[in-house]
């Protein structure tokens, strides 16, 4: 698959590298001569210097035989127009534009250009991560020095049916209470967690993420 890409910055660089590793034939169009040289040196791929909206530059990059054109510059209008020119002038079957402004995704799609917004992707990832259904409650205590979290233990969680003393808990985490069948248990080292239990965890804020990961079954 031949892919023509244009853009700048670290994400762009890593994306190029990823595509190269997948064995794609990648050509970069780079406006900035120095950035172009750097990409060429670090990735050892063909870099065309020029404006991705310019017909000659696109031709030079092989737009006539490419399968995909991906525009990831920081200007939405440059991304849209370079995609439209590649599609209309060279008949590229797939053109994809980064919409820096998430509101432009809808407009680009309407104008026949596939679009994505990194902002929207990251926002939904974070929402997904923070709104998992097994975290029931989160409370800071002692003026934010301690987090109290209630986590529901699901059936296929690797922590169940093992004595608490055998769990390799991350540091600075304490299992305060186990809630089982509506009853609160103050656990000892010999207690096991069962599917359907909730645990009330005390953790320091810097270990909070690890604690959640451990008890939501994401550690395995």
């Amino acid at each position: 698959m031949k892919i023509i890409m244009t853009g700048q910055g670290k994400e762009f660089f890593f994306l190029c590298r990823r595509f190269l590793e997948k064995g794609y034939n990648v050509t970069l169009i780079c406006k900035d001569e120095n950035e172009g040289k750097k990409l060429f040196r670090d990735l050892k791929i063909s870099v065309i210097e020029g404006d991705p909206c310019d017909i000659q530059t696109l031709k030079h990059a092989g737009a006539e035989i490419a399968d995909v054109f991906l525009a990831m510059s920081e200007n939405d209008h440059d991304n849209l127009i370079s995609c439209q020119i590649s599609a209309n002038r060279f008949g590229l079957p797939r053109v994809i534009a980064l919409a820096n402004d998430p509101e432009n995704v809808e407009i680009f799609e309407k104008l026949g250009v596939k679009a994505f917004s990194i902002t929207s992707i990251i926002a939904s990832l974070i929402e997904e991560r923070t709104a998992t259904d097994n975290i029931l409650n989160l409370q800071p205590a002692a003026r934010g020095l301690v987090n109290i979290t209630e986590v529901k233990i699901h059936q296929n969680n690797p922590v169940i049916n093992k004595p608490l003393r055998s769990l390799e808990l991350p540091q600075n985490i304490l299992i305060g209470i186990i809630v089982r069948n509506g009853k609160a248990i103050v656990p000892g080292g010999n207690n096991c967690l069962l599917a359907g239990d909730s645990v009330v965890l005390l953790s320091l804020p810097e270990n909070h993420g690890k604690a959640i990961k451990f008890f939501s079954g994401e550690n395995k």
């Binding site: 909206c53 310019d54 017909i55 200007n75 939405d76 209008h77 440059d78 849209l80 127009i81 370079s82 439209q84 020119i85 209309n88 002038r89 402004d101 509101e103 432009n104 809808e106 407009i107 309407k110 104008l111």
Partner: protein, 140 residues
Amino acid sequence: MVMAGCGKLGSFLANRLSSNGHSIVIIDKNPAAFERLSFEFTGFKLEGDVSLLSVLQKAKVADAYAFWALTENDNLNLMIAQTAKSFFKVDKVFARIHDPEKSKIFQDSEIFNICPTILAGEKALSIFAEELKTSSEDKS
């Protein structure tokens, strides 16, 4: 109508159209650009970045009967003109495109595109041809 860009062309058109009785909202990200507007201009000035959809919404592009894309950037003009046409369903949409190549590519779209380079070039050629004719007539 809504006009994006209050540069030399934008302010020229805004002054003329406003004095002809058109109601205009003119947008520019640089408030100093509005100093180009004369006393003839009676419309609204909106400071903002026209590349943002929210700014176009604030200017009520959806209610406009005409939209002019007159920023210095060809690609930006093409983007907002297409947005005005396809998204806001504006009836008459104009875009200034400096680059003759780009102007040709987008000629078939429903947007009226004005290429100052082609217009000036053709005018210059016709003046030149006229001058050659008169000077050869003078000689004969």
